[in-house]
């Protein structure tokens, strides 16, 4: 209990309290707290990234070894991972005269090439797929079922049309205050702002209250199960 629960709770309390207090105490040494704790945080975060990568490797290796479903694809993942590691950590593909580590962004480095020609097309296209899904979802689900749904739909349509030149063209004959770009601007500056603001205030309160529970050790759920 001491090692698995009490010490972590004590760490949260100490770190949380110090971070909170330094907002109110400008005097030395409190003005130094953030400089270093944030650096530490960064370093620990890197280990979390490494952990994610190793977890992935472990899982995919298991898949290959147990010849699970689609294991050849797991092989693709592993090879992709290792190849990128080679470019990231070995002298392969590092331009001459550039120190290992500075090569990531250097002109002519293979790591940089991989970023622009492998990583970029993949992640950009993944997001671009969503364009199609957004279209089909709105086509299917934007129905005038009731007052709420109708408001959602109308606001959505006005925004969509009002923000592009075609929308401006379509309503150019109307008086200025009825033109789509004007109406669209008004919707997002007034009623939308009101709704968004209420959500923000609510979420803000939720965050403050959860942070408080974390710091005071009332909420310990981040510790995971009691194994």
């Amino acid at each position: 209990m001491l090692w698995k629960t009490q010490i972590p709770v004590a760490i949260v309390f100490a770190v949380g309290m110090l971070t909170l207090i330094q907002w109110f105490v400008p005097h030395w040494p409190f003005d130094q707290i953030q400089v270093h704790t944030t650096q530490w945080f960064d370093i620990i975060a890197v280990f979390a990234v490494i952990l994610g990568g190793l977890n992935l490797l472990k899982l995919q290796l298991q898949k290959v070894i147990s010849r699970g479903r689609d294991w050849p694809y797991a092989l693709v993942t592993i090879v992709g991972f290792l190849a990128m590691m080679v470019y990231g950590f070995s002298p392969v593909g590092v331009p001459e005269g550039i120190r290992l580590g500075d090569h990531l962004q250097a002109n002519g480095s293979h790591f940089r090439w991989m970023f622009f020609n492998v990583f970029t097309p993949l992640s950009a296209t993944m997001f671009a797929l969503l364009a199609f899904f957004v279209a089909s979802a709105s086509y299917r689900a934007f129905r005038v079922r009731n007052a709420e749904a109708t408001l959602l739909l109308v606001a959505g349509i006005i925004l969509m049309l009002g923000r592009v030149p075609l929308g401006a063209k379509m309503t150019a004959f109307l008086p200025h205050f009825m033109q789509l770009p004007t109406v669209q601007e008004w919707i997002y500056a007034v009623p939308n702002l009101a709704g968004a603001r209420a959500i923000m205030i609510g979420i803000g309160l939720g965050m403050v209250s959860t942070s408080l529970r974390f710091i005071l050790g009332i909420e310990k759920s981040f510790l995971g199960g009691d194994e």
Partner: protein, 279 residues
Amino acid sequence: MAGNNSFLVKMGQLDRRLVFVVIGIAVFLPLKFPIGLAVVTTPTTQDVFNAVDSIPEGSTVLVSFEYGPSTRPEIEPMAITLLRQLFNEKQKVVAMALWPDGQFMSTRVLERIADKEYGLKWGVDYVNLGYRPGQEAVIKGIAKDLRANYNSDVRNNPVEDLPIMDGIYTVKDFDFIFSLSAGYPGTVEWVLYAADPYGIPMSTGVTAIQVNEVIPYVKGGQIKGILAGMSGAAEYENLVKAGDATRFMDAQSVAHFLIVLFIILGNISYLVQRRKQTA
């Protein structure tokens, strides 16, 4: 009439792959064969232009790159146009990134604009400090001590040796912050941990999706104007110099129009169906 009605009902139940194909064509054709629709500037874009315009000449501006390859089409045109506006007015630009891929983005854009187009000097007129991990903790960190977080630029020059960084010890020493942001960490964090607490003027360009999260801060006056998505970028280009976003706006227009058309078809079908059921 019955046949007519069932046709209308069917229009609301098209296979989603048909929707996919239509959207695909709607984007592809205008890219290949542009129409050239005019862009109308919205006030929030004008605000950004004015805010950047009113920075006193020779100021040092922090431009933060918080976007990656997946949101590049929206944000990169803004970045290019922003740099043009800043360099036109002889401002100095310090670039940094809260996203690791942001550094690739900034490197690319700076190479193209600062180096090739304007022929400016690294370390004097502009510098790229690159990425540091830690999300908002980086902002908090540079608010206290920039050099503890950034001891050198991406070309490994110590920050002390960079003339542009003379006298810049914390984020407070920048005259203006511009966040090019596609999500977390991004604009909101810059407001929370830098612009608000230290009263530094800032402005932002965000992806369309981010707009609703950020707009309350714009209306609250914490951010001066906002470039909203690709149309925001096109409007901004319109004020400074035409670029990619302007070229892409036709496809954007047509696609939006078709999606709205689909929604209307779906609703006609829905209403016809509902009337049938009640009748």
